[in-house]
Symmetry: C2
Subunit: 209 residues, 2 copies
DNA sequence: GCTTGGCATGAACGCCCGTTCAGTTAATCT
DNA sequence: AGATTAACTGAACGGGCGTTCATGCCAAGC
């Protein structure tokens, strides 16, 4: 598989994906033409079709690879054993991972409606798996008496929404570092699911890494 | 101003706005043509230009009127006096108002990037005013010792994000009614900002209507 | 009954769209 | 050196785009 000298195609393919990702994220799938993507890469429009079967596949591949990287990265993440530690790990992971690739995140959330139904279903299935990862943590914590939530699904959706919302306002060089934001969200999410502090079996444990 | 018989124009204008709102929300601004909007209304494309100066103004007017209705409706809302009651009112109001007009909400959040810079700034200013309404409640509650948050701005953004997130999953006829969802969110938001229950001056008060 | 004016048409303008493909280039292999 | 082939071009296809405007219709006002 691996070669000593990368052929031109091995470079152009990723360049096209990067250009498409950036343009789709900034202007929207429908508003970006194949010619504009080609111009960004420095080739003619026809060349794009040596690397993708059509515009829809280009979008779908960007979204699919983003979602699979997300799941794979969470799979590799050290998580701790107890539910509170796992939840804190999820919060830190989500914020870090999402802030590292804002364009892919934006695309994955905004262009679902641009996918043909079959592709939509495949992306939706991946998104669901990620959501389940969080729901599983909450469920385990509830079973262990470490969390107390009125409704598992609503708590799951709330947490995902508030975490993903960070991408809409966070800017590098702002008042808080990514890590500081992460810690504040760990604390807020902890309150959201935590039993009252006084009643907690081990109050100090939640913040543990 | 008011006439006995509405002229045709007084009907067609709103019809165009409704059709544009629905199509823009479902397929995206860039993906919807003026001809398609016209077809939905049952007129020719040229007719649209008797009611709007161009496609961009059509989008902007939809977003502007949505944001101004939001601010006006919150202004009319009975809010209670104490910060905890005001926060609960905000949560209930936000969920109810947003679930009542999913298309306008979707448009206002997804098509910001389709606005020319001047229009973007005007919508952004309105959004900021709404965000400030929530921040003011939290600030008052913190000053009164009723809330305890690590960071005012992050708490504000978190709450807005989790509330708006309801629109992405709520479906009528599902497991929970709008009111039930509202109450669960009142409780979750209460935990997010609440001092530990044991330390609260008046623990039972938060849920009050 | 005639005029006025609001309302709508439908053709036209210049331009850009996604996609295809015969042909050209330049690097690699024998 | 000649053949092969991967990479890319640039023109072309049919069609849709936002917007304009001369023209026609028809109900209301005189």
């Amino acid at each position: 598989m691996a070669r000593k000298t990368g052929s031109r195609a091995e470079i152009t393919g990723p360049l096209i994906r990067r250009a498409a990702l950036s343009l789709f994220a900034r202007h929207g799938y429908a508003a970006v033409s194949m010619r504009r993507i080609a111009a960004e890469v420095g080739v003619q429009a026809g060349t794009l079709y040596l690397y993708t079967s059509d515009k829809q596949s280009l979008l779908f591949e960007l979204m699919r690879s983003h979602m699979e990287e997300l799941l794979a990265a969470w799979g590799r993440e050290p998580k701790g054993k107890e539910p509170p530690a796992r939840l804190a790990a999820f919060v830190r992971f989500h914020i870090r991972f999402h802030l590292e690739r804002p364009e892919a995140v934006f695309l994955a959330y905004m262009e679902l409606r641009s996918l043909v139904p079959e592709n939509f279903a495949r992306i939706e299935a991946l998104r669901q798996r990620y959501e389940d990862a969080l729901a599983d943590i909450l469920r385990a914590g509830i079973a262990a008496g470490r969390f107390q939530v009125a409704d598992l699904r609503l708590a799951t959706m709330s947490i995902i929404a508030m975490l993903t919302g960070v991408n809409t306002w966070y800017r590098d060089g702002g008042r808080l570092s990514r890590e500081e934001v992460g810690e504040i969200y760990v604390e807020m999410v902890g309150r959201l699911v935590g039993p009252d502090r006084g009643a907690a079996p081990d109050p100090g444990v939640f913040g543990e890494r």
